[in-house]
Amino acid sequence: MALSLPTHSSRSLLPLPPSTKPTFPTLRRLNHRVSLVTASTPLLQVNDLRAKIVESNVQILHGVNLTVNQGEVHAIMGKNGSGKSTFAKVLVGHPDYEVTGGSVVFKGENLLEMEPEERSLSGLFMSFQSPVEIPGVSNDEFLVMAYNARRKKLGLPELGPLECFSYLMEKLQLVNMKPDFLNRNVNEGFSGGERKRNEILQLAVLGADLAILDEIDSGLDVDALRDVAGAVNRILTPQNSLMMITHYRRILDLLNPTHVHVMDKGKIARTGDISMVETIEAEGYETVSAST
């Protein structure tokens, strides 16, 4: 399957409704059911994944099993240190972690054998929890470079900065940011909220079959959260899948997960639907994890 490269003409994007409560998920749900029926192989198949921190040799993942099909929205919750972020980082090939066992198949290919850039080009995106500053490299330069890497992979001609401009502007609107956002250096001097929006802007520009959002909601105020969640809903078509790592219910209400997982001690301890979130909020992770 070709990775979903958004193009200028693919969709017309409406500006975000300023403050109305978003109601977009309905269509997603319907389409989602259809896609579930037609999907033959899972988009992501994780079996007994084990990983440790390279430097300290500490084992963090103790056998994660997870299947994500096309169009599904998964939420991974769990207390601090349960391995949620490590799981996301291992999937994108973070060099701080070493896989010690298990397998990950993404779109029919062995993900663990791929370099981080190959994983990205094959349609896996992760928003960083704390995106790093890149002084001396402007946001538009970076986006054009990443966008062109994607075009190159698809056999399309690379575009110059000017040719990309209108495309970038369109995506910028999607995350509700001013154009000068593009001239600033990548994440340099960005507030917490700006960094999160910048991650979503990159997702909007690059597209993804599976977007992993690692605590995209932490540090965001209500308006920013609505902007971000709204943008995510607009970026993802019913064919895309989403995996979000979060501590909070707010974003789940905005993005409507089809599956909710609780991670505990480096494993997925329990899987359910959105109703499990209420139990977690009422009784805490310990109870939920223990009741498997």
């Binding site: 994108v92 090939g93 973070h94 060099p95 370099e115 981080p116 850039e117 994983r119 990205s120 080009l121 995106f125 992760m126 960083f128 995106p131 790093v132 890149i134 002084p135 001396g136 490299v137 970076f142 470079m145 990443a146 890497a149 994607r150 992979k153 990548v186 990159q202 690059l206």
Partner: protein
């Protein structure tokens, strides 16, 4: 353009010293052994003496030699007598491996036209040219008070230049004179005759003295590049640049070093700042197998401003060494330093390691002597966390590691390159660095 015309290159050879054969020959050299130095001479390094001898022979000493130059040579040869060839055990050379010079056959070139001066027209009271061509004796007298200048950390290479500089290029800017256009010094690398033995290293010793009188302003560019098509020549540039910046005067200094990747480039920059003067140095050193810049700033009065920005780039087996000393011993000396190092090496075939020293900004407080940045790029062999996370960030967005590295190094150096006042130099340096990082790009 002012050309500097001199006699053709005088060359003499120096055979690397071998301990038994020539250890006594220097004693007979009357030029070198002066009574005062005789006692110290016993502790000296025979190799250095042999080198000094060769250097002295290469310089035509005539009655017409200007007095300041004559005095400079005397003082330099005195100090050479008691100076040994530096080893890695000497603290200032701990990170500088000089063996490849030491093992070469050094042939001094007394070719004064190594310095080409490119300027547009200058006000009449300004002098830019060789000291030997100076006819004004008041000016010669003025220059004499600045030469020779010695200081505690002057090393062997300062003295070698002192002995062997065939002439001195003088820049004199009188009181309150503001030069609009930059003065451009183009240093032509020693051109070895072909064919020549592969163990030979041709040595040149260009020397510049800049005197800015009270309230004067000038911008000087020193450009050490390799001759086109001579990117692999073996030579040794041993340059010295001295500046005396008068009260309230300002010197902007651009220094670009992109010499042959088989060359040794050793350079002294010694600046004395009178009160309320300003000195700005912007340096990009990306050439040479060995590049070493000794930078010394001495405050002569209060309220000085010193801004140093440098980018050192090492590719492959290059070493770039900046050795800087700021002596701020008067009130209200302000100094800001930005030194950046980038190194790209091939460490085996599979992994390429990149070292980017994090930005080092040193804010120097008054009345403080700071000996900073005795740094070779090999500081820390691993990629730091920040840099690794930057690389991953690019990769996670589909950009391959090699491209990411190039962009990061380029971004990293950009802050320094942007400080060059001349846009043509900025462009040239950018494209040079681009080519160094990615030879396939052109």
């Amino acid at each position: 353009m002012n050309g500097v015309g001199f006699s053709p290159a005088a060359m003499s050879s120096l055979i690397p010293f071998s301990s038994s054969s020539s250890s006594s020959s220097w004693i007979s050299q009357k030029k070198l052994v002066r009574p005062k130095a005789l006692t110290r001479a016993f502790t000296s390094d025979p190799y250095v003496l042999e080198l000094a001898e060769t250097l002295e022979e290469s310089i035509p000493s005539t009655p017409s030699t200007p007095l300041p130059l004559h005095n400079l040579r005397n003082v330099a040869s005195q100090s050479l007598l008691s100076t040994a060839w530096p080893s890695r055990r000497d603290e200032p050379f701990r990170f500088t491996d000089l063996t490849f010079i030491r093992q070469s056959r050094i042939l001094p070139l007394s070719h004064p036209s190594a310095v080409k001066i490119l300027t547009s027209h200058l006000p009449p009271a300004v002098y830019v040219g060789p000291l030997s061509a100076l006819s004004s004796s008041p000016l010669l007298h003025k220059v004499s008070q600045f030469l020779p200048h010695t200081f505690p950390d002057a090393d062997l290479f300062w003295s070698i230049n002192g002995i062997a500089a065939p002439d001195l290029t003088l820049v004199y800017v009188p009181e309150n004179c503001h030069l609009q256009d930059p003065i451009h010094f183009h240093y032509t690398p020693p051109q070895p005759p072909t064919p020549h033995p592969s163990d030979t290293m041709y040595l040149s010793n260009p020397r510049v003295l800049v005197v800015l009188e009270k309230g004067a302003r000038a911008h000087i560019t020193e450009d050490f590049s390799s001759a086109p098509g001579n990117d692999n020549d073996r030579y040794w540039s041993n340059a010295a640049f001295e500046a005396v910046i008068g009260e309230g005067a300002k010197l902007s200094h651009s220094y670009i070093q992109t010499q042959s990747l088989r060359a040794a480039h050793i350079k002294w920059t010694s600046v004395r700042q009178e009160s309320s003067s300003a000195y700005e140095l912007t340096e990009v050193s990306a050439g040479g197998k060995l590049g070493r810049h000794n930078l010394r700033i001495q405050q002569l009065g209060p309220d000085t401003v010193t801004e140093l920005s440098s980018l050192h780039l090492s590719v492959g087996d290059q070493t770039q060494d900046l050795h800087s000393t700021l002596v701020l011993d008067h009130p209200r000396g302000y100094s800001r330093q930005l030194h950046k190092y980038a190194q790209q090496t091939d460490a085996g075939q599979l992994t390429r390691s990149l070292l980017l020293e994090p930005r080092a900004t040193v804010n120097v407080k008054p009345n403080l002597q700071i000996v900073a940045d005795d740094v070779k790029c090999s500081h820390g062999a691993a990629i730091s966390d920040l840099e690794e996370s930057q690389l991953l960030y690019f990769q996670a967005r589909g950009i391959d590691q090699n491209t990411a590295r190039r962009v990061l190094i380029f971004a990293f150096g950009g802050e320094v390159i942007d400080k060059f006042p001349s846009s043509s130099i900025r462009d040239r340096v950018r494209s040079h660095i681009k080519n160094l990082l990615d030879p396939s790009s052109n």
